[in-house]
Structures are given as structure tokens and as C-alpha cells.
């Protein structure tokens, strides 16, 4: 598979602050790449540099094998971008908005008409064509925002947190749409803070922090790299907190916490952790309502890699 994007040694500084620090990565044709990172990690800056919206101090960026510059109109015709903020005209209807943004790429009226219909179908806005944005709900607006970004059938699509503040139904619709785009041959760079979306959608994930790549791979690969191997959750009322250090001393236990009647025990390794926990609880005469075991999620990996402290 060819690389659609190749970023080599990218450096972007804002005065003294290094936003992107010698970043190198590539995106393969037809994949959905998840770009993750806490706020201020350099995700948006990286995307803006790739799109030539920002000048950068070092490195080079190639898209479809060609260097990307502000005047690379041929390259730009193959790219679609869906920004986090809904970027549409309030004065135009749903159809007119898609028509305008598609018209920036596709000049042929007939082709454009067909593309608009396809985009409307993809995001499920066929019944809202004549609606003005003010009449649309948050979810529908997000879907319109996506339609405006992808109507011209780009080969490379950047989606910057397209599901922020969207209800579950709209989110499902959006995620299905993105999968369809990939199935139609598009390469997608997807940034989000929702880890479950990444697990559902992304073929590969890059986790950025402080302008650097701190982890890269498939979701399974990343999970394997985590020190947590298993999580056991026990629903138990009024647990004596003096029991917590004793549980911590059990075999393979990494961390123990008790909050809202939920005892959460993470294990770094080992087998029969769940059975061992049940045996321990019985031996201590602790009654519990539920007990279950889970594999670590991408969220656990993300928090482990980037830390739990709050970011701006």
C-alpha cells in the first residue's frame, strides 16, 4: 500500500513554544488513522501544517507523493476537511451550503448535483435539503458540516473531532458514514477524544503528546503495550476501606480503588485473577452484588501513556 501522507521531521514553533517536535509519520492508502492526544498535544497544529494552513519551521510534508504548498491546487482537489467547528453559511439552505463548498472543487453542474445527492444520502440529510441551519439540531448541523467537507468525493479526508456534542444516534450515523467513505476508497485521518470511536473505526492509531509521538500501532498493539492486563470490577456496598491495602497486596495487583460502591482492581499480569478475587472476598465474608472482568480499554492505555493530570 502506498503512503498517502508522509510527514518527515516536522517542527512547528510558536515563538519559544514547540508545538510539534520533529514529528514523522505516514498514512497509508485506504486506512483510517486515529490521531489521539490530550488538549495541546499538537494534533490540530499537525493537521493545519499538513493542509498548509500554518507555516512550519522544519521538515517536509508530502501528500500523494507531492510536496504540499498553499498553491498545490491539484493536491487540494483530492483533500476534504471536516473541521471541529461547524463551518457553514447561516444564510444558505442545507443543499445550497453543500453546493457552495462542493462548487469550490467541482465545476460541472451535473456532476456536482450528483455528488450533492450522494453526500446528502451519506449523512442522512435528504429530508432536510431546504432547511436553513438555524432550524437544524446540533446533530444535523454536524452531519451537514461533514457533508460540506466530503461532497466532492476526496481521496484523503481529515476529520477533526466531528462528533463533539452529538447525540448517540447522530454519532452512529456519522461513524457509519466514515466507514462508508473508507469502503469507497478514501483515506481518513481522524482526531477525537472519544476512545470508543477510535476502537470502532481506526485501523491504526498515533498518540501524540507535547508535539511528539508517544505511541503508534493498531488498537490491539497499543493495548498490549499497556502495563494493565486485566481489570476486575466488584459491586460491593459499604466496603471497609482498611481492606484496600490488603487487596493491593494480592498477587499481580497493580492498583486498587473504591468509589461509589465500586471496587476497581487492576492486574498487571497473571491468570485466574477473577477466581482469586472471588475466593478472597468469600474468605473475608464480604458480600458483593456483581463481579466482572474486563480487558483494558484504549482509554486506559491513553491515560497510562499521557498521564491523568488535567490539561488545558
Amino acid at each position: 500500500m502506498e503512503n498517502v501522507i508522509e510527514v518527515r521531521n516536522l517542527v512547528k514553533k510558536y515563538k519559544e513554544i514547540i508545538a510539534v517536535d520533529n514529528l514523522s509519520f505516514s498514512v497509508r492508502e485506504g486506512e483510517i488513522l486515529g490521531l489521539l492526544g490530550p488538549n495541546g498535544s499538537g494534533k490540530s497544529t499537525t493537521i493545519n501544517c499538513i493542509l498548509s494552513l500554518l507555516k512550519f519551521q522544519g521538515g517536509n510534508i508530502k501528500i500523494f507523493g507531492k510536496e504540499m504548498t498553499p498553491n498545490s491546487y491539484e493536491l487540494k482537489s483530492k483533500i476534504g476537511v471536516v473541521f471541529q467547528d461547524v463551518s457553514i453559511f447561516d444564510e444558505l439552505t442545507v443543499y445550497e451550503n453543500i453546493d457552495y463548498f462542493c462548487g469550490l472543487y467541482v465545476k460541472n453542474k451535473e456532476t456536482r448535483k450528483k455528488y450533492i445527492e450522494d453526500a446528502l444520502k451519506l449523512v442522512g440529510l435528504e429530508d432536510f435539503q431546504k432547511f436553513y441551519p438555524k432550524k437544524l439540531s446540533g446533530g444535523l448541523l454536524r452531519r451537514l458540516n461533514i457533508a460540506c467537507g466530503i461532497a466532492h468525493k476526496p481521496k484523503l479526508i481529515f476529520l477533526d473531532e466531528p462528533t463533539v456534542a452529538v447525540d448517540p444516534q447522530s454519532r452512529n450515523n456519522i461513524l457509519d458514514g466514515i466507514k462508508q467513505l473508507r469502503d469507497m476508497g478514501a483515506t481518513v485521518v481522524y482526531t477525537t477524544h472519544y476512545m470508543e470511536e477510535v476502537e470502532i473505526l481506526c485501523d491504526r492509531v498515533i498518540i501524540l503528546d507535547k508535539g511528539k509521538i508517544i505511541a503508534e500501532g493498531t488498537t490491539d498493539e497499543l493495548k498490549q503495550r499497556a502495563s494493565i492486563e486485566e481489570k476486575v470490577t466488584v459491586e460491593v456496598n459499604n466496603l471497609d476501606v482498611r481492606e484496600l491495602p490488603k487487596i493491593k497486596d494480592l498477587m499481580n495487583v497493580l492498583e486498587v480503588s473504591y468509589e461509589d460502591n465500586l471496587l476497581l482492581v487492576t492486574y498487571k499480569d497473571g491468570k485466574n485473577n477473577l477466581v482469586n478475587m472471588i475466593t478472597y472476598l468469600k474468605s473475608k465474608g464480604i458480600d458483593y452484588q456483581k463481579i466482572y472482568s474486563e480487558r483494558p480499554t484504549l482509554n486506559d492505555v491513553f491515560l497510562e501513556l499521557t498521564g491523568k493530570e488535567l490539561r488545558d
Binding site: Y73, D85, E91, L104, Y105
Partner: protein, 382 residues
């Protein structure tokens, strides 16, 4: 074409504003013209007077009353002090003349007796006083030469019968010119309001940071996109100008199809282009649609009041006129006023209009340069 179409769609969404300002122009423009029609036709109105004669029915008194009957509305009112006072108070009479006892006798002996009067003090009363004074002064002059009362009255009547004839050498239809000037002066308000608000609004939509980002990353050449936007704005301005010219042609077609009328039209075209550049500057400077509405009102109303679009410049205080010099509207209105009073169109008489046109073009160039500076400053990327 996409930009052009989108421009008109956004404009169409806000067409009510254009309609409102055009209706304002039509209503106030036409009513202004009607007012000018009245103010340009002068017809003397006879004052209402009453005569109370305590003298005898002498030839002098008869001649005087006859003269007053000819020039005033002499009303028959009961010779009662209270009734006369009421008539003056309620403006039924403007002037009451009391001819005292032995007036004729004293007058003929050269004593210059005084007439007693009561007056409302308004301009009609002043006019009545002027009529009375003219007769008495004339009689006084002839009394020195003619001792016979009948002959004196005949002579005075003969002289006062002659009226001075005034022949206007000017061929200028000042009434019609006044109408055109008023219409085009007022049109400046509607034009500024329509152009500044609409162009500003549309530029605001296209200049939204998020929309701009999408345009920059698209395969559409940014320069071509901006050129299309500029042409759309100019097209809109020209349509607005043409609309207002057509209205003036309908209302004042005979005058508008003369050389002078065409100069009015040309002047308004230069002004329209100047305001288009100003609208560009404002549209690029202001990023808030709500603020834009306020700014367009301040600019249109402010410049119209300061530069004499609503109130003629001659009635404005000097300091206001000085301030108005920094606004293009002043030069546009000045050209209209000059055209309205210009006797003949020659190279010399056209000089002030040419100067005003050059100043308006200079304003346009300044606005374009400032707009470019603003656009470039905003476009600077990280």
C-alpha cells in the same frame, strides 16, 4: 460562478433591507420634491384688515379705502373694541386701521396726522402695514405740490396703479433642478445604507474564520475567489445605482434626459463606486453582523446629516460643514447643489464638479488601499 451565485443567495435572504431603504428613498424623495414644488412658487396673500373711520367720507378717505380694498381683504366687522380685539386675537384680522377724526383736514394742511393701528404682528400684518405706508407716503409727496384733494387722490391712484415688471433672464428651471438635487441628495442616504450594510454583511459571511479556512484549503484559487467576490459586490452596487437612476428617470424624465441630468447620473455613479470601496473597507474591518447594522446606520445617517442630504448645506453651521469635508458624501452633494444652480454648463462652471469627482476618486483609492492592508493583516498565517 459558485461565488457569484452564493453572493446573490445571501443577498436574497436579506433583500428586505434593500426594499426598506428603497421605499424610504421613494417616500421621502417624492415628498421632498412635493415640498420643493410649494416652496418655489410664491404668491402674495392679501392680509385681512378692518377699517374704522372716525373722519368724514372725504375724497382722500374714499381713495385710501378703495386702494386698501384692492390690495387687502377688507372685512366688515362691528365697530366695537372688544369684537375687534377678539378678531385680532383669533387671527380673523391681521390689521385694524383707525382713521381719526379730522384726518383729511389735517393731512391737507400738511400736518402729517398719524393713523392708529392694531396688528397681530405676523408677516401678514407687516404686509398690510407696508401697503398702508406706501399709500400714505405717496399721498404725502403729492400733497406738497397739489392742494386739491380730488386731484391728489387721482394722482396717487395713478402712480400706485403702475407695477414693476420683473423679467427673469435665467433660462434655468430652478424648480425642476431643485427636485433633481433633492432626489439625488436623498439617494445618497439610501445608497450608503444599502451598500454598506449588504456588502458588509456578505463579506462578513465569506470572511468568517471557519468559512475562510475551508476556502483556503479548497482547490479554488484564493485570488480568483476574491476577484469573483469583488465583482459580485460591484455588480450589486451598479444594480442599486441603476435602480435609483431608473426611479429618477420615471419621476423626472424630462430633466434627467438632458445634459445636466446625465451629469447628475454620472456624479451618482462615481459616488456609488466610492461607497462600494468604503463598504469593502467596513466589511473587512467589522467581524460582527450585529455591529455592522449599527455601523451602517451611523455611517449613512451621520454622513447624510453632516453633508446636507437631509438639511441643505446652507443651513448647517460652519463647524459641521468643516467636519463634512472629510466625507465623500459632502463632495457628491456639493456637485449636486452646484448642478442645481449652475446657469450654463461650460468648462469653467464644471470645474468645481470635476474637482469634487477627483476627490471622490481619491477617497475610493484610499479606501481600496486601507481594505488591502486590513485583508493582508488578517490573512497573515502562523
Amino acid at each position: 460562478m459558485t461565488v457569484f451565485k452564493t453572493f446573490w443567495k445571501i443577498l436574497n435572504k436579506n433583500k428586505l433591507t434593500v426594499i426598506i431603504y428603497t421605499v424610504i428613498l421613494l417616500v421621502f424623495g417624492i415628498s421632498n420634491m412635493k415640498t420643493s414644488e410649494k416652496s418655489m412658487n410664491f404668491q402674495a396673500e392679501k392680509p385681512d384688515i378692518a377699517i374704522v373711520n372716525y373722519d368724514e367720507e372725504t375724497e382722500l378717505v374714499k381713495g385710501f379705502v378703495q386702494y386698501l380694498n384692492k390690495n387687502c381683504n377688507v372685512k366688515e366687522i362691528e365697530n366695537n373694541e372688544e369684537t375687534l380685539n377678539d378678531a385680532i386675537f383669533y387671527r380673523d384680522l391681521n390689521y385694524v386701521i383707525y382713521i381719526p377724526e379730522n384726518y383729511t383736514e389735517e393731512f391737507m394742511t400738511g400736518k402729517k396726522p398719524e393713523l392708529e393701528v392694531k396688528s397681530t404682528g405676523d408677516y401678514q400684518a407687516s404686509y398690510a402695514k407696508m401697503i398702508v405706508t406706501r399709500y400714505i407716503q405717496m399721498a404725502n409727496i403729492y400733497q406738497k405740490k397739489i392742494s386739491d384733494e380730488s386731484e391728489l387722490v387721482a394722482q396717487v391712484n395713478e402712480v400706485l396703479k403702475n407695477e414693476a415688471k420683473i423679467e427673469m433672464t435665467s433660462k434655468l428651471d430652478s424648480n425642476a433642478m431643485q427636485k433633481v438635487t433633492l432626489y439625488y441628495n436623498f439617494a445618497s442616504y439610501s445608497l450608503i445604507a444599502c451598500l454598506v450594510f449588504m456588502i458588509g454583511l456578505i463579506l462578513n459571511s465569506f470572511n468568517q474564520e471557519k468559512i475562510k479556512k475551508r476556502i483556503i484549503i479548497s482547490s479554488e484559487n484564493c485570488k480568483r475567489h476574491n476577484r469573483a467576490l469583488l465583482l459580485s459586490n460591484c455588480c450589486y452596487s451598479l444594480i442599486m445605482w441603476a435602480l435609483y437612476v431608473i426611479v429618477s428617470l420615471i419621476l423626472l424624465k424630462d430633466i434627467m434626459l438632458t445634459t445636466r441630468g446625465l451629469i447628475y447620473i454620472a456624479n451618482s455613479l462615481v459616488f456609488t463606486l466610492c461607497i462600494t470601496t468604503l463598504s469593502f473597507l467596513i466589511g473587512n474591518l467589522v467581524n460582527n453582523k450585529e455591529a455592522l447594522s449599527g455601523i451602517s446606520n451611523v455611517v449613512s445617517l451621520g454622513s447624510s446629516f453632516l453633508c446636507g442630504a437631509f438639511v441643505p448645506v446652507r443651513w448647517l453651521p460652519d463647524f459641521v460643514i468643516k467636519i463634512a469635508h472629510v466625507l465623500p458624501t459632502y463632495y457628491y452633494i456639493n456637485s449636486n447643489e452646484t448642478l442645481g444652480t449652475m446657469e450654463k454648463i461650460t468648462k469653467e462652471t464644471m470645474q468645481p464638479i470635476i474637482t469634487n469627482t477627483i476627490i471622490m476618486i481619491a477617497f475610493s483609492i484610499i479606501f481600496i488601499i486601507l481594505s488591502n492592508i486590513v485583508v493582508k493583516t488578517k490573512r497573515k498565517i502562523g
